[in-house]
Each structure stands twice: as C-alpha cells, then as structure tokens.
C-alpha cells in the first residue's frame, strides 16, 4: 500500500465514514422484464433478444408477473411498505447498450419503501434501513477491447428484470457494508429470487461514501463508487475510498462529488468524468405501461408463503436448539443448509443438535464444497443415525469418521455398515482387559516408566490397546482398565 493510505489510517480515529449501498440484483425469471425473450446466462452473443428488447419500432412492453412477485417477496421480507399502485417511468440516457435510448425503471412511485435489513457483524445483530426497492430492466453488456477504436455490444442481458435495493446511509465502516451486502445476498438466495452471484454480475453494488469528523451530524460530500464486482473487493474498495477522502481532507483539500470506478487489479479507484454536466434523465411516466396494481390479497399470499427468514432462524437455532451464535450463523448461511441441518435434528435418531452441528460444520461442509447439498449421498437422517451411534457408545469417534467417508462413497446407512462389518465398539471389559494385559506384558519398559511417574505413557498404552482391538474398543473403558492394571 502507498504512503497515502498509511497516513490516512493513522488519522482515521478522528473521522467517521457514512456509507449507503445501492444494490442491483437480477431476478431469476425465465423471461425478460417486459417480453418473453429468454434469459439464459452465458448464451451466444445477441441470441436472447426480441423486438421489445431491441427497442424496435412498434414493440410494446408487457410486465412479467413473476418479477413483481419476486420483488414483493423481498419487499415483505424486509418489512417494506408496499405501494398498492406503483408506476414505471422512462429514464433517458444514451449508451450503446441501451437500445431504446431510455431504461424502464421506477421513479417517484416505487413498489417498496422504508424496509429494514437485518445482519450480523462480529456476532452482533444490526439493522440498516432501506429507502426503497424498485423494479427496472437491465442494460446490455459492453466489451472494450484494448487498443481498438470500437467496443462490442451484446444485448442478451438487456431487459433482464432487476431490482434496485437502495439503502439509507446507515453503515459506518467498510466491514459493516460488507456484512450488510452479504446479508442481502443471503436474503435474495434464501427467498429464491436471485442467485446473487457477484462474479457473474447478478448482484452488483455501488457504494455512496462520505466522511465527517466524529460527532458531527451534517453529512460530508459523498462520492459514488462503482464497479465493485466481487465480494472480495467490497470492503477493500470502500476502505480505500474512506482512506482517500480522509487524506484529501487532512491535507487541506475538499472531497469533490463524483463517480469513481474501482480498479481491482491496481487496488485503487479513478474518477469517471461524465460529459453530461449533471445527470438529467428526464424521467416521465412510461405511457406504454399503466400503473401496476398490487392487491392486499396478493401481498397476503406472498406473506404467507414466505419462508422463515435467516435472522429468525438464527435466533431459533440459538434459543431452541442451544447452538452457539457462531454455529447458528454458519448453519443459516444458506437455506438449503439450514433445512438439511434441521431435517437431521428432526430425524428419528434424535441426535444431539450441538453434536450434529459440529459434524455438519467439520465434515459435511467440507465434502459438499463443490457439489450441491441435495446431491450428497449422505442424507440428514443418516448423519443423525451416525451421531446417535457415537452417543450410544456403539461406535467410537474414530470409527465414525471412517464410517462417514464410507457412507459418502456408498450412500449406505451407518447401521447397515456397522452390522455387516462388526464395527460395533467393544465395551466388553474382559475382552479389553485381556488386550490391555497383553500390551503391558509386551512393553515392560514403558510400563515401568509409567509406574515411575511418567503419566503421559498412559496415552501410549491406550493407543496400542485400541489398535490391537482393531479400533473398536471403547476409549473411555480402555483408559480406565489400563489405569487400574498399571497402577495395581
């Protein structure tokens, strides 16, 4: 990092950052916002268009019901006020990726307003207010080839339904902005309205950042940071912008209101000087689209179909299942994972929820890193059975780990494998005693050392005895018996 950042970081305690995010999120509909053109990501260039998408003369937009439904879902989930009659407006600007010369968006009558986003930072629950959530259409995609005087335009993305989630400037640090954005991503995935993939561009964030002396209530001049296209860079980009502004102010300058673009490769941002003096989008109601009416009945249906939300589920996992807060957070990261875990808790084996939680985190999450949870050969009731077998003393923890790997291979239930291969833990004291005696006789030097006070030799004998019994001996019993034999 440069010297600039270092000096700014030193001065940082005198300033407070004020951050608000504008998040664009592609809705996972089969067809576009205003026409039936398909929305396959990654399709061949310009293969997902139709006359409406291309803005050809005479083409008329018709609203996709599912897009409204998806927007309602997040509107209700964020406890937003839903507008009974919302309106689409034209936002005018010229750009080659915008065939009509205007984007259909919502302006002064958005679908959702005054919502709330709940998230967790450093284990503490937080809230941030939403200004609004509105619907609009996406633009096409441009490719700028270095060293060429032309750009390439692909209109496949044009017309894909978007929601724009506009947050109030309630965030005070880059870390908080990062946590907020991750919570939004979790929410849109949880509600199954978007895949929330920043790298593929289905979730995009712009950050409005300003600083002010700590304790001052008036807001400083803000800059808009664009082009943060990866979760990895969100915090870094905002951190950098805060440091840049502090540096400008402490060196006697003034922050200029501008749009800056984040350059991930260089780890810095640059000013995007716009040719138009001020943005004048000349919004007006789209005459092709009458007001969208959302009936109380529709809202009620969406509300009752809403799944239990991440924040509620987190709390319930802590309060009803006795999980540590961190466990609850990990297990509610994805709805499919929370469902999986809860199915395991509810399985007939009645395994201990806390032990299940640690098995899910240490073993299951490791093996399903690259595959969908639903395709995992180990089903929730199978893991519950495994954990219950350990708890009942039927198998040892070591055998359980091996069993887990074999269940993953064959998809067989743990009991089936245990019964077939005689993996049941030996709790027969006479069998253990016989094995232990044999080991002690074979290792007189070590036995003498233990008797002479070298306590740690016990572990050696425990290991040897269990190994001699094919890993199946109950470790606690082995421990007790060895102690008795060695100390007699």
């Amino acid at each position: 990092m440069s010297a600039t950042t270092t000096s700014a970081a030193t001065a940082a305690p005198d300033f407070e950052a004020v951050i608000g995010l504008e998040v664009h999120c592609q809705l996972r509909t089969a067809s576009k916002m205003f026409s039936a053109a398909p929305t396959h990501f990654g399709a061949a260039p310009n293969s997902q268009t139709d006359p409406v998408v291309l803005g050809l003369p005479g083409a008329l937009p018709v609203v996709n019901r599912q897009a409204i439904e998806f927007a309602l879902r997040i509107g209700v989930a964020t406890r937003s006020k839903i507008r009974a009659r919302s309106r689409f407006a034209r936002k005018h600007y010229f750009y080659p990726d915008l065939p009509k010369g205007y984007q259909i968006s919502q302006y002064d009558e958005p679908l959702c307003e005054h919502g709330l986003v709940q998230f967790v930072l450093d284990g503490q629950p937080r809230e941030a207010r939403l200004t609004r959530i509105h619907l609009e259409e996406d633009a096409g995609k441009n490719t700028h080839l270095p060293g060429r005087a032309t750009s390439l335009v692909d209109l496949n993305r044009a017309g894909v339904p978007l929601i724009e989630i506009v947050g109030e400037p309630d965030l005070r640090s880059a870390a908080e902005a990062g946590a907020y954005l991750r919570a939004l991503r979790q929410l849109v995935r949880w509600l199954e309205i978007s895949d929330g993939n920043m790298e593929e561009g289905s979730l995009r964030a712009d950050a409005n950042v300003s600083i002010r002396p700590r304790g001052q209530s008036a807001l400083g001049t803000k800059t808009e940071l664009k082009n943060i296209n990866s979760f990895k860079f969100v915090e870094k980009a905002i951190e950098h912008e805060i440091a840049r502004q502090i540096d400008v102010v402490t060196s006697g300058g003034r922050v200029v209101q501008e749009t800056r673009s984040w350059d991930a490769e260089r780890g810095t941002s640059f000013s995007m000087r716009s040719k138009e003096q001020a943005h004048d989008y000349r919004y007006f109601p789209d005459p092709d689209l009458p007001p969208v009416v959302v009936s109380p009945d529709w809202i009620a249906r969406v509300t009752s179909a809403l799944p239990e939300l991440p924040a509620q589920r987190r709390t319930r996992f802590v309060e009803a299942l006795g999980l540590p807060a961190h466990d609850a957070e990990v297990l509610t990261g994805e709805r499919a994972l929370a469902d999986w875990y809860e199915a395991a808790v509810a399985a007939p084996s009645k395994a201990d929820p806390r032990k299940l939680s640690s098995w899910v985190q240490s073993e299951l999450l490791r093996v399903v890193k690259d595959t969908p949870l639903a395709e995992c050969p180990i089903k929730p009731d199978m893991l519950a059975e495994l954990v219950a077998l350990i708890d009942a003393g039927t198998i040892s923890g070591k055998i359980a780990k091996d069993l887990f790997a074999r269940m993953l291979q064959s998809g067989e239930r743990p009991k089936v494998i245990v019964d077939r291969e005689g993996l049941t833990q030996v709790s027969d004291t006479s069998a253990i005693e016989a094995a232990a005696r044999a080991i002690i006789e074979a290792k007189p030097k070590e036995a003498a050392a233990y008797k002479a006070g070298k306590q740690q030799m016990l572990g050696f004998f425990v290991g040897q005895t269990i190994k001699a019994m094919g890993g199946k001996a109950n470790p606690q019993l082995v421990n007790d018996i060895l102690k008795k034999l060695l100390e007699s």
């Binding site: 260039p45 310009n46 060429r148 032309t150 390439l152 995007m272 040719k275 007001p291």
Partner: protein
C-alpha cells in the same frame, strides 16, 4: 420568455441533436409558445384532481413468466451498421480516465 436559448441548447445536447444558431433561435420561439400554452392550463384549479398519466383508465396487464423464442442473432443484427461476429460493433465509448 418561457425558455432560454441555453436551455434549448442543453436539451438538444441531452437528445444528441446538433442545432445551428438559426435552429436554436427558431426552436426557442416554438418551444416557448408550446410552454405558454401549457401555462394557460396551469391557470386552472386542479386541486384534488389526480394527475393523468394514461388516457385509458386501466391497470397494468401482467404476463406469465414463460420464455418464448428469441430472435435469431442474424435477424437481431440485421440492421447493425457494423458488426463483429455476433456482436454489434460501435465506436469506443468507455468513460473515465
């Protein structure tokens, strides 16, 4: 005057229209008289009347989310002045430094 020459120039720039001085003068006059006409409407008392944005009082019709056939790329690109493979090719327009 209802509209200034500078405002006309600004609107023309936003609309990507290049106007000669003579045209700016002519359109300033024409737009001015249109705005004067609108001013006449403003004289009416419209308290309690909802602004009309659509001539037909109807709710927005909604479409089920069913994907139809896309236009083949060949046809989508048929009117492109310049193309590169299956892309539209346009003068470079990247903003920023």
């Amino acid at each position: 005057m209802a509209i200034t020459r500078d405002e006309v120039k600004e609107i023309a720039e936003l609309a990507r229209l290049s106007l000669s001085d003579e045209e700016v003068t002519r359109f300033t006059g024409q737009l001015g008289s249109i705005l004067e006409h609108i001013d006449a409407l403003s004289a009416l008392d419209t308290t309690g009347i909802e602004p009309t944005t659509h001539a037909v009082p109807m709710d927005c019709p909604l479409r089920e989310d069913v994907a139809g056939a896309a236009l083949p790329a060949e046809r989508a690109l048929a009117a492109a002045p310049v193309r590169s493979g299956d892309f539209f090719e346009v003068p470079k327009f990247v903003s920023g430094s």
